[in-house]
Subunit: 133 residues, 2 copies
């Protein structure tokens, strides 16, 4: 992916701006609906294309929480994600530096070169916990 010869179009700008405004980890389709309020003629394909480019160029994160669709996140500092099995929302979880330790512990037990670790959590959010009691 060539991130040098990239142009800051209105569409790409608005997609990135709207993603930065939210903490909801929207899907491409959800973000499309939001962006459409500012750019009514934008197409869903353009949203997909820009999310792909932005994530490939390290400007945003593409998340796969096993839902059969991808989510996106403009927050780039280290953190984890928890998906509430009750309401389906995705929340940020503070980062505790486990990755390094996990890598260390895995040394010697296999013949692979580990290059990345994917971790996320399932659980029940505060709001849903209250509703249950």
């Amino acid at each position: 992916m060539d991130c040098e010869n990239t142009r800051l179009t209105q569409q790409r700008k608005v997609v990135l701006e709207e993603l930065k405004k939210t903490t909801a980890h929207p899907t491409a389709d959800e973000l499309y609906e939001v962006v459409r309020k500012r750019l009514p003629n934008i197409s869903l394909g353009t949203v997909y294309r820009n999310l792909e480019i932005l994530s490939a160029c390290g400007e945003i994160l593409k998340l796969d929480l096993g839902e059969g669709k991808k989510r996106f996140d403009a927050r780039m500092d280290p953190h984890y994600h928890l998906r509430c099995t009750q309401c389906g929302r995705v929340f940020d979880i503070p980062y505790v530096p486990l990755d390094k330790e996990i890598e260390e512990r895995l040394q010697g037990v296999n013949h692979f070169k580990v290059t990345g670790i994917q971790i996320h959590f399932d659980g029940i959010c505060e709001e849903c916990l209250k509703k249950m009691n």
Copy 2:
């Protein structure tokens, strides 16, 4: 999901048997091709349906490694998975009991009830490492 009133059909039996034979973590489609050799008239939908039922009833694992398609595994003892970014194959990684420790460390830093942890690894397998040197 009602796992009591379940019938051991030839199709379900063969799907489970063939999955147990392999360590390749096949997709539904890949397993369909294998099962078809024994049951030429089985349909892809039946393979999907049975994999769904078997995993819902805790007989097999459904894996999502972020590829946009699910994989299945009949190995039920605790272990992790590594996907080789070079050849795309999925390998088993010995289990080191991280889950409990991770859960402990996450206590107090959030307001969620964590019910599950999804961990998998990206890397390069032994075979691909050799080819690179």
